[in-house]
């Protein structure tokens, strides 16, 4: 798909004027500009955050992201909690895809303390992570269209997601917060009949993908709205630390699962989709391909998963689990991209410092502020959702 050519585009390269630092000179009193706050209770923003937009007509000349509406001080709270207590706490850092939090925390703790996770547990972890990705993508892929008021795909997607959540409930005992992957292993075996039900759901999701391809991806109006809009220039990728689908949409084939294989990902056959057009449509396509790939990966996992009884390594008593001094950065590929946790241990049973590196941190603040400039106000939320920003992960 070529870039959409509008019949007439005003030349806005010199408007508004910029000062020597490249900052736009915006004089609100001149009445040429409007200040528009979107959020926190705005249906379009991806969560409880707000965008401070300076508009000239329908065009954004300056954008600022304001976060902190969901700040709970996790990194501080976790300093007061033992490693095992950190585990339920860490999960809340990103609501939409909590499993990545569980995994990176567990992986970091295990790496520092040298715990070997049993093989079955590794497979189960991978299953949980991929199910979480599937669950998120079912929400997000049609979600881009629903910011453009095509909510139908979202409704179907939500229903598909419900089935995955049902499977989660069956496997982990939780619907949203699964609290399944914990330091040392996982918290439950595959229930009886799980594979069969999961495969049925995956078949259903195949049908769903076909339907949203018809409804969304071949929809002319959707293409008109998204092709050539929200361009993420390739040179921004390193400059802004872009990871995951946005980077893959801009021609950078970066996927932690491939680059730094963790768990059993090197035993799985998959190839992350990459495209170069780097607009909203491309990112939507990348996500859709991710969805197809995730379904495939889950099928492979279900096929290969061993059935050992051992699901958790023998660890010291978790009530006073102490971890050797050191620092570690553990990463995983979440649906939004590289998701990592940096833990510093001072040898006590409480972590000295926990820092979460979520993709949204750079995507939603620095990158979004950059991308929104000269965007049309109607596209703001499509751009935001296409970056899949998640506010709780920014402010933690």
């Amino acid at each position: 798909m070529k870039r959409n050519k509008l019949i007439w585009q005003p030349d806005r390269s010199k408007y508004p004027e910029h000062d020597s630092n490249g900052k736009p000179i915006v004089d609100l009193k001149s009445q040429k500009f409007t200040k528009l706050w979107q959020g926190p209770n705005h249906p379009g923003v991806t969560g409880n955050m707000s965008l401070e937009l300076t508009l000239s007509g329908d065009e954004v000349v300056e954008a600022k992201t304001h976060v902190g509406y969901l700040h709970r001080g996790f990194e501080k709270l976790m300093e007061r909690r033992t490693y095992m207590q950190c585990f339920p706490t860490s999960i809340r850092m990103c609501v939409a895809e909590p499993d990545s939090n569980e995994y990176v925390l567990s992986a970091a703790v295990e790496e520092l303390s040298g715990i070997e996770v049993p093989e079955t547990a590794q497979w189960l972890r991978m299953l949980a992570l991929e199910m979480a990705r599937l669950q998120v993508l079912l929400r997000v892929v049609p979600g881009i269209a629903s910011t453009l008021s095509l909510g139908l795909g979202s409704q179907w997607g939500m229903y598909m997601r419900e089935h995955i959540l049902d499977r989660f409930e069956e496997l982990t005992g939780g619907r949203i917060y699964h609290m399944y992957i914990l330091p040392g292993g996982v918290r439950g075996q595959l229930p009886d009949g799980f594979k069969k039900r999961m495969l049925e759901n995956l078949d259903m999701i195949d049908g769903f993908i076909k339907r949203i391809e018809d409804l969304i991806f071949s929809n002319n109006v959707f293409k008109k709205r998204t092709v050539g809009v929200g361009i993420l220039k390739p040179e921004w990728v390193d400059q802004f630390g872009v990871v995951g689908p946005p980077a893959r949409g801009a021609g950078f084939k970066r996927d932690v699962r491939k680059d730094y294989p963790y768990l059993k990902y090197n035993e799985i056959d998959f190839d992350p989709f990459m495209a170069t057009d780097s607009d909203i449509y491309t990112r939507a396509i990348v996500r859709k391909q991710d969805l197809i790939m995730t379904v495939d990966i889950i099928r492979q996992i279900l096929d290969k998963i061993p059935n050992d009884k051992e699901i958790r390594a023998k660890t010291p008593n978790v009530l006073h689990l102490e971890i050797p001094k050191g620092e570690v950065y553990a990463r995983s590929e979440s649906s939004r991209g590289e998701y990592g946790m940096y833990i510093v241990s001072d040898g006590s049973k409480y972590p000295r410092r926990v820092n979460l590196r979520g993709p949204s941190y750079t995507h939603a603040v620095a990158l979004l502020e950059k991308m929104l400039i000269n965007a049309n106000i109607s596209d703001v939320h499509a751009i935001m959702v296409s970056l899949q920003t998640c506010p709780p992960e920014i402010e933690r």
């Binding site: 008021s149 095509l150 139908l152 109006v221 959707f222 709205r225 106000i377």
Partner: protein, 302 residues
């Protein structure tokens, strides 16, 4: 004198029926849309409850006189169209105050409500209202042009500007409907209807994900009740106008109900499966396709 009072009473009764039909139609549309999403949707009586609730709000704040007048103007626009629109062809009672030039008046009233809303929403002071109303006005202007062209084509075709006469000319069988006698104008009209009824892809006026929810952002309580009342009436009369212009009007209430439902459904049918255009895209679209068709319709009859 007596006549006019009786006429007025019939008109009021007509308004009551149209209002309720509008709400029922709106609810059924929402139920149908819900069906597409595999939901069951709202109870069919939900709009009445919403309306009662809105009027029963205990507090309501105002942003000034124009803020009050906005919904009133809007209602005036809706009721205005209703007043001059013959509902049932051939019925003395249900033809309201239809007269020779009513078509022009109706086109004017369509704008009247919008302008009133603009004033009121502007007074609300919320930037979302302002952005919404700007979009609404620009889109509506471009929507009116193909419609006007279609109407001109019709006027040329039937040589009249009275809706009643246009309907009269279409009587005597389906083949006499404008749909078949002047399909080009019908297409132009039906495309502009998409814009007039503001479903996707032309629903950017109220776009909840961008400018929640456009002009009525600050409206609430009874103000919103008035707007909703007007909405119900307006949807029916818009559909009825197109019914009269292109689909042979209605000779009884059953026909009226079926035809208005289907005409309204047309915009829902398109809207459910499309995202919305940006404002400039929608303006450009209207200035391209329907306008061209409209011009063609006029040229064919010159």
């Amino acid at each position: 004198m007596n006549d006019i009072i009786i006429k007025l009473l019939w008109t009021l009764l007509g308004l009551f029926i149209v209002l309720n039909w509008g709400m029922l139609m709106g609810a059924s549309m929402r139920k149908i849309v819900a069906r597409v999403a595999h939901r069951r949707g709202i109870p069919i009586y939900q709009p009445w409850l919403d309306l009662i609730k809105l009027y029963a709000k205990r507090t309501s704040i105002s942003h000034g006189v124009m803020f009050y007048l906005g919904p009133v103007f809007r209602l005036g626009g809706g009721v205005g169209i209703f007043l001059f629109l013959p509902l049932i062809y051939g019925s003395e009672y249900w033809s309201n105050f239809s007269w020779a030039g009513d078509l022009v008046l109706i086109l004017y009233f369509q704008f009247f409500g919008m302008l009133g809303m603009a004033l009121g929403a502007g007074e609300g002071g919320h930037p979302n209202s302002v952005i919404g109303i700007t979009r609404g006005l620009s889109q509506f202007t471009t929507v009116e042009i193909p419609l006007t062209l279609a109407v001109i084509s019709l006027a040329l075709q039937y040589n009249t500007l009275s809706i009643t006469e246009i309907v009269a000319a279409q009587q005597g069988g389906v083949q006499n409907w404008t749909l078949f006698t002047n399909p080009v104008a019908t297409v132009a009209g039906m495309l502009s209807l998409l814009g007039a009824l503001r479903h996707a892809p032309f629903n950017l006026v109220k776009a909840p994900n961008e400018v929640p929810i456009g002009p009525p952002t600050e409206y609430h309580s009874a103000f919103l009740g008035v707007l909703r009342t007007n909405g119900a009436v307006l949807h029916v009369v818009e559909a009825a106008l197109f019914m009269n212009l292109f689909f042979g009007g209605a000779t009884n209430w059953a026909e009226f109900i079926i035809k208005t439902f289907l005409i309204y459904f047309w915009s829902v049918f398109v809207g459910v499966v499309h995202p919305r255009f940006r404002i400039e895209q929608s303006v450009v679209w209207f200035l391209k396709i329907p306008l061209a068709i409209g011009v063609l319709a006029v040229i064919l009859y010159i």
